[in-house]
């Protein structure tokens, strides 16, 4: 075939192109109730092998990091072995730093974040735990620093989480101590990166920069007390009766590699406001880990 003819393609090429375009636009126009089963079916069939490979790669990376960390821990423990009190203190400190699970105690499942390429990564996250591991839709997704998002859909061994950076994400929030309540949503396209905004704060309630904002527990989706961020400043004032504040987020979903998905049994709990350092409520006797 001459080069000129190849370059401009044939009628069959144009038809194939148009057919694919129409199918793409149809997929875009599908209602959410149809999109999720299709995406889930693709993930559990065609994509299952590559997601399994990716999961193994993530596990390998974490094992490599764990090896380095464990070597450091071993050296530290060897050094401190002669001083048992110091060893105990260091052990407790490492637990606090590394194991949020130890603090939560029960009612959660670990999951790895299978990050994908593209601009949408960070808005939704594919997690390596699904229905078989106990994950249910609308379950809160947390990291040691605070709230990451909520589970949007669940497959057998994977699930998709909507991160707080998603334009549709909302969470009921309060200032620590429970004196001021509002709604937190994402605010994108900021020069300094992704930020949150706290809406619906009464004009007479002034919040100082640095004030911690946590989940309020209202709505029955998120437990009370999960850190969301801290106040960075006033964003705008609506007619002298309401203020919107800019929040510096506690967790950036795009940088999270490991999360915990809470079970419904934890939704009514009050997790600590000092999420990183304080013990959460103890597990009831007989509760499986």
């Amino acid at each position: 075939m001459p080069i000129g003819a190849e370059r401009y393609g044939s009628r069959a090429d144009a038809i194939a192109f148009l057919a694919c375009l129409v199918l793409s636009l149809t997929a875009l126009a599908l209602p959410e109730a149809l999109r999720r089963p299709i995406a889930g079916a693709l993930r559990t069939t065609v994509l299952a092998p590559v997601l399994a490979v990716e999961r193994q790669a993530v596990t390998a990376r974490e094992q490599r990091q764990n090896t380095v960390r464990l070597r450091a821990e071993r050296d530290s423990f060897a050094l401190a072995a002669a001083f048992v009190p110091e060893l105990r203190a260091e052990n407790a400190q490492l637990r606090k730093l590394l194991k949020l699970g130890g603090r939560l105690g029960y009612g959660f499942v670990d999951a790895e974040v299978l990050h994908q390429t593209g601009l949408s990564d960070g808005l939704t996250l594919v997690l390596s735990a699904g229905r078989r591991e106990g994950v249910v839709p609308a379950a809160p997704v947390i990291a040691p620093g605070g709230l990451v998002g909520m589970v949007a859909s669940v497959d057998a061994h994977t699930s998709v989480a909507m991160a707080w950076t998603h334009p549709d994400f909302r969470v009921s929030a309060m200032v620590e101590g429970g004196r001021v309540f509002g709604i937190v949503a994402s605010r994108r396209a900021e020069a300094s990166g992704e930020m949150m905004e706290l809406r619906g704060i009464s004009y007479r309630e002034g919040l100082a920069p640095g004030t911690a904002v946590v989940t309020s527990g209202l709505g029955g989706v998120y437990p009370r007390g999960i850190p969301l961020g801290s106040v960075a400043g006033v964003l705008n004032e609506s007619g002298g009766w309401e203020r919107t504040y800019l929040l510096r987020p506690a967790v950036h979903p795009a940088q999270v590699s490991h999360v915990m998905v809470l079970f419904p049994s934890r939704v009514r709990d009050t997790l600590t406001t000092d999420f990183d350092t304080t013990q959460a409520a103890a597990a009831p006797p007989g509760t499986p880990p």
Binding site: A16, A27, L28, T117, L119, L123, V160
Partner: protein, 163 residues
Amino acid sequence: MRIAPSRIKLAIVLAVLVAAHFALRPRFGPSPLAPDLVLVALLFFAIRSRPGAGAVAGFIVGLLVDAATPTAFGSSAFALTVVGFLAGWLKAVVFPDNLLVNAVFVFAASLARDLLQVLAAGQLRSGAAALLVTSPLAALSTTAAALLALVVFHPLLRGAAAR
């Protein structure tokens, strides 16, 4: 039906690129700047195919990408369909052995994919910052990976044709 050796060689290269995308990329941690080897594989296929085959391949790959990150299901399929078709259409000006032309081609394709995807998803306002900052850097890393793949797989890609 006998399959041409050039097709088999191209299929091997594409399979290695896709496997590397999912097996190697996560080992370096989550980063929006990581090279997109699936896009590289699609472009390698499309510039050695007819435009229609490039469009169909782009649609299928895009649909699978959409399933993996279902923020706006169909947006990647739309973007990669257009990119795949244009790659096949422009193959007359993309010399498979010319590194500079390939670099410009992959860089432009990566940017075009991101722009089309954001437009199709209706996220132009929220994704503008990422398009201006993250997208060019990701396109650079993808271009570098494509050039490396061209050098490494040169013996297999030389004379390879998909159609």
